[in-house]
């Protein structure tokens, strides 16, 4: 069974796993990725598609910066276009408190090399005249943007495969065992997989697997609430978001070049690990309409054509799990990205590959270590 052996086994084929497989091949390690269904079908495929650094937990910015640099090189790295559009990212504030939050975040982000431009209400409307009068200020990040989540993870997986990785879709892992200083995984089809190194990048299911490996983590799953309008002429260049503490005001939207406006936020729906994905909650869809009209009144003239939900894993402290196991040698984690994994996905893959191949990484990831829950 030597053909089912590799330097690294990756459990889970979302963006994190697919990107790790790709970067491990760049470093010359052999890799097998096991995906229960199809690559990029869960959170990686149904998320909003934000390639946004501003607003992130500050210690995550070095990782986000590294990832942003990779986004810019994706067409040459992957040989495929995943519709990355660095068209800027704008967060708006509706209250003086939110403006103050923006100012302090701008000051905090500057040492990390993320320069944000704060625009007062009139200045932000001069530049983005479709914003509503209710907007008091905007925080603009010119080099952030968005990409197509339906394409990104599969494109990484295909590029990894072309580079020699084995990407096994429909491979449901039933058993994980320590064996001879490494890991043995058994899939439902009776095949056995072995490697000295295992990475768990199973997204919303990551917590369940970590618990099985003796490292339980506090985690919940939620369903993001997404929708998209019919296509209209391309006019909203920056991705839009809101700085607020009130979940019901948290709206985000982006217009793709072909014209549709993708939106999400203002609440979550339920999600389950062992059931098919829920659909979007129509009460939330209707509430999103009020927030869409509130931010960009002209959107009230459009119609939506599709809604969807899915499953995302959230850690109780809203910080992902990333890095080596606190318990087992050769075991690594990258899951629980709390609804904000898309932008950092390529960077996570690059960093995890570096960590696995060299034993350390130049990008600080200590805050994400699973040991914080021990």
């Amino acid at each position: 069974m030597s053909e089912n052996r590799a330097d690294v086994l990756i459990l889970g084929g979302g963006l994190m796993g697919a990107a790790t497989a790709f970067f491990l091949r760049q470093r010359g390690l052999s890799v097998i990725l096991l995906e229960r269904r199809l690559v990029g079908q869960q959170a990686s495929g149904i998320n909003f598609g934000n390639v946004r650094r501003q607003g992130r937990f500050l210690p995550q910015l070095p990782l986000a910066n590294r990832s942003r640099a990779i986004w810019g090189r994706l067409p040459e790295l992957l040989g495929e276009d995943v519709e990355f559009l660095p068209s800027g990212h704008l967060r708006v504030a509706y209250t003086p408190e939110a403006v103050a939050t923006m100012e302090s975040y701008r000051d905090g982000a500057r040492p990390y090399g993320l320069d944000l431009e704060l625009l007062s209400g009139n200045a932000v409307r001069d530049r983005f005249p479709w914003l509503s009068p209710e907007v008091m200020a905007g925080s603009y990040s010119p080099h952030d943007g968005h990409a197509n989540p339906r394409l990104a993870a599969p494109a990484f997986a295909r590029a990894a495969r072309r580079a020699g990785a084995r990407i096994e879709e429909g491979a449901e892992v039933l058993h994980i065992e320590h064996e001879g200083g490494g890991y043995r995984l058994d899939t439902a089809d009776g095949r056995v997989w072995r490697a000295p190194v295992l990475q768990v990048s199973a997204g919303a299911w990551g917590g369940r697997i970590a618990a099985r490996l003796g490292e339980p983590v506090p985690m919940v799953v939620r369903g993001p609430q997404m929708g998209v309008t019919e296509a209209v002429p391309y006019a909203l260049l920056p991705v839009l978001g809101v700085t607020t503490k009130e979940i019901r005001e948290v709206l985000y939207l982006r217009q793709v070049k072909r014209g549709n406006i993708v939106f999400g936020g203002t609440g979550h729906g339920p999600a389950e690990l062992d059931a098919p994905p829920h659909r979007a909650n129509p009460d939330i869809t209707l509430h999103q309409f009020t927030q869409l009209r509130r931010m960009v009144p002209a959107l009230g003239a459009l119609r939506i054509i599709r809604t969807w939900s899915g499953i995302e894993g959230y850690m109780h402290d809203e910080i992902p799990v990333m890095g080596p196991s606190a318990k087992w040698p050769g075991l690594f984690y990258a899951f629980g990205f709390c609804g904000a994994g898309f932008q950092i996905g390529p960077g996570v893959g690059d960093v995890m590959a570096e960590l696995i191949a060299t034993g350390s990484t130049t990008t600080p990831i200590e805050p994400f270590h699973i040991g914080r829950f021990a």
């Binding site: 199809l38 079908q41 495929g45 339906r150 394409l151 599969p154 295909r158 309008t229 019919e230 296509a231 019901r248 203002t266 609440g267 659909r279 979007a280 909650n281 129509p282 009460d283 939330i284 869809t285 209707l286 509430h287 309409f289 009020t290 869409l292 009209r293 959107l299 009230g300 003239a301 459009l302 119609r303 939506i304 054509i305 599709r306 809604t307 969807w308």
Partner: protein, 467 residues
């Protein structure tokens, strides 16, 4: 105990008969309908101010149409009627509806879905040209607006509607250039034993065809269409090109074409309600599962009419009654007097035999669809070609329709795959080398039809529900 809340979606033959029966049982059902007036598509009423009589509008079915309209109008305040209203979602035991800027959440104990069917289309090259219509649209133009889709019209496709619409056009004085049926000449004989279940209907069909022949209309069977041709400016239909036996091409000149290959069930609401679907090999499409009375697999959901099984208008009236009786039974309420369930079921079985006969006599030309040229626009909403759809399978490794949709955008537009989904599945299946049922079906996603962002929930509890 509060009266059970029963909602009927659709006010065509199935919805009308269901509402009538529920009202007779003492309930006050809510009837939600997209139309301005009841009647559905088959018995669509003309706009106010139009004065054609029923015989002109509905031909041999005038009696049935007027009876159905009279029944619905007679219900009056016995029902809560919401016309021009879109049923766009189902969630948490409630139907979500919208009319203009008003969005409402209607909780139900039983939901009877009678949303009918739309044309099953083949995206032939040129099918999006101005002047190319579906058969149903060609019929609506005549019925509702009293106008023809062109001055010289070709009808292309297969199924009874092909001949019905052509004869209605002839009767209305339009010039019909040709009726082109893709069914092989011998297919009719294959369907005959089953179609003999309804001899009167079969005879009506024969009369239609005889009338068309007498009117001198060119009729062909076994036609292999190649494309709809544009005029020199590329802005309008100028003809239909069909294959000739020697491998060449023949062009039939026209300025409009009406196309359709039988019908496809409007089953999105059943999908959103969580109903199971099965592949129906006879009609080569996925249909929501229902028992003989119309109970779906999801509790509280009932299906009637063409949205569940394409039995036509008469079958829809029976299915509407059966589903309403099933609702009453499941709610523990007595049926109104004079309802003979066994007889209704027997009639429905006869119609189902006829349906299977029709599918044999007028088969869906799967091979033609699977071999459409790469440059053909399959998804007209998103402008995706057959080649791009195939590429999502062959190069990007999509194993079925939903993955092919995610990669290629086929079926992602305004129509949510209504018009391209069935043809798209044939293309994906052929590219993958699997039977069409293995290519799956596009999962339904709300809203059923485009929903205005201007829509506002008028119920404060709606927003409360999201907290």
């Amino acid at each position: 105990m509060a009266a059970p809340r029963v909602i009927v979606v659709g006010a065509g033959p199935a919805g009308t008969r269901a509402a009538e029966l529920l009202a007779a049982a003492g309930l006050r059902p809510t009837v939600v309908d997209e139309g301005r007036a009841s009647g559905g598509q088959i018995y669509r009423r003309q706009p106010p101010g139009f004065r054609r009589d029923a015989r002109t509008l509905y031909g041999t079915e005038a009696g049935r149409a007027t009876a159905l309209h009279a029944t619905f109008d007679g219900l009056g305040l016995a029902i809560d009627y919401l016309p021009e209203t879109l049923a766009w979602n189902i969630h948490g035991g409630a139907l979500y509806v919208q009319r203009e800027e008003r969005a409402r959440r209607l909780p139900f104990d039983a939901l009877l879905i009678a949303t009918g069917a739309t044309d099953r289309m083949i995206p032939l090259p040129g099918w999006t040209l101005p002047g190319a219509f579906s058969l149903g649209a060609a019929q609506i133009a005549l019925k509702a607006q009293a106008c023809a889709i062109g001055s010289r019209v070709v009808f292309l496709g297969t199924g009874p509607l092909l001949y019905l619409v052509a004869s209605q056009y002839v009767k209305a004085g339009a010039q019909v250039a040709a009726v082109l049926d893709t069914a092989p000449p011998g297919a009719r004989w294959k369907g005959l034993p089953l179609m003999a279940a309804r001899p009167a209907l079969l005879a009506k069909g024969a009369v239609l065809i005889a009338q068309l022949m007498r009117a001198g209309v060119t009729m062909r069977r076994g036609v292999v269409p190649r494309r709809v041709l544009a005029d020199a400016a590329g802005t309008r239909v100028a003809g239909v090109a069909i294959a000739t036996p020697d491998g060449g091409e023949e062009v039939i000149a026209c300025d409009a074409v009406g196309m359709g290959w039988h019908l496809r069930a409007e089953s999105q609401l059943a999908d959103l309600a969580g109903c199971a679907f099965d592949f129906d090999a006879d009609s080569r499409q996925w249909l929501p599962r229902a028992d003989e009375d119309g109970r779906a697999s999801a509790p509280g959901i009932y299906l009637a009419g063409d949205s569940a099984r394409i039995l036509g208008a008469d079958g829809a009236e029976i299915a509407g009654r059966l589903a309403a009786l099933a609702v009453l039974k499941d709610l523990g309420l007595p049926a109104p007097p004079g309802q003979d369930v066994a007889a209704l079921r027997r009639q429905r079985q006869v119609m189902d035999r006829f349906r299977r006969g029709l599918a044999l006599a007028f088969p869906w030309p799967a091979g033609l669809v699977a071999s459409l040229p790469d440059e053909t626009l399959v998804c007209r909403c998103e402008a995706i070609t057959a080649g791009a759809l195939r590429q999502s399978v062959t190069e990007l490794d999509a194993p079925e329709m939903n993955r092919a949709k995610a990669f290629s955008r086929t079926g992602m537009g305004r129509c949510q795959g209504r018009f391209c989904g069935i043809a798209g599945a044939e293309i994906v299946a052929a590219a993958r080398g699997v039977p069409v049922e293995a290519a799956g079906r596009l999962r339904g996603q709300a809203p059923v039809k485009p929903l205005p962002v201007a829509a506002m929930a008028d119920d404060a509890s709606t927003l409360e529900a999201t907290r």
